[in-house]
Assembly symmetry: C2
Homo-oligomer: 166 residues x 2
DNA sequence: GCAAAGCAGTTGCCAATGCAACCAATTCTG
DNA sequence: CAGAATTGGTTGCATTGGCAACTGCTTTGC
């Protein structure tokens, strides 16, 4: 063993991953921060969970999707979606209609009450987003979304066939 | 009630939040995708959980931090950190030394075995990051990190005094 | 200098989540 | 067209994670 490798064997801490610049870490921290803050809004004001809000938001935008669509699009486990749906149906916010073309799946829509929740919640969500994004210029915001979109596509590609687009 | 408002009361679906462009949603989806893919690596190969990996990575970079530091920096709940630390200590990857200056806290360091894990894992983590980021040019990567950093700062600001920097 | 308030870390408890097994409907294949 | 494989959705089970109460130490303010 050379002198150098002996010296190395004392293993001076030499960081290989600088967390502050490590993509998965940074992304997760940011997503958690933003998500927690937003969750507080729809939890306190509407008693919605994160999966519940996501389902309402998806159906607010696209009527007649299936549970599977929602799960794939928002990268939630199908059991999570299933349970959140039961809760929303219980509260009368979501309706399920069997799809005559394929009796395995159910087409989901917001009820009147569900849409009312959506329409009350949406502006608050947008205001929150606005507040967060206000530190970026409009051009930077566009750039950011473009980059996020491309990373998303790449991440789904790397994840292989497991995660699919809606 | 005017004819118009009657017509409106049929509530045609008019999306207010376009999920594909909604920051919290996009961020969470991307973070989940990236996180899951990375988690597979250190789970399968080293039996580490996400909190466990984060602790190892933090201590790999900064020796002698406390549990509190790690929790704040990575936005994990202190109980999560506490339990993950017990597991890592059990496996002989992390050591706790009481801080003589403040007997409440414990200074954490990697053991030899812990550092070995770190040094085996770090290159794989970096390679994974590299693969994901490869769809962006170096300039875009720098831009992206800059934007994420500023959003992070803003999110912590908005979250109020609750979430603090290390 | 002592009581009160604050803080680091742990733990019991409960809700949420993931996994895997399962059911029912559909599609594929020979 | 029958049986096998696949798919949408549900559910039981075990694990994880958050919350809040608690311990023991430290700081603050009379």
């Amino acid at each position: 063993m050379s002198a150098r490798s002996v010296a190395q064997s004392r293993r001076p801490p030499r960081p290989q991953v600088v967390l502050e610049e490590f993509l998965p870490y940074r992304l997760n921290v940011l997503a958690t921060l933003v998500s927690n803050a937003l969750a507080r809004i729809y939890e306190e004001r509407f008693g919605l969970t994160i999966p519940g809000w996501r389902i309402i938001a998806t159906l607010g935008q696209y009527e007649g999707r299936t549970a599977r669509d929602i799960a794939a699009h928002s990268v939630m486990h199908k059991s999570t979606v299933s349970r959140a749906l039961s809760a929303l149906e219980e509260r009368g916010l979501v309706e399920r209609k069997p799809n005559p073309e394929d009796m395995r799946e159910e087409l989901l829509t917001l009820t009147e009450a569900g849409r009312a929740v959506y329409e009350a919640l949406a502006p608050e969500a947008l205001a929150f987003e606005e507040r967060t994004l206000s530190v970026l210029t409009p051009a930077e915001q566009r750039t950011f979304f473009d980059l996020v979109l491309r990373l998303d596509a790449q991440a789904r590609r790397l994840a292989g066939a497991k995660v699919r687009e809606v």
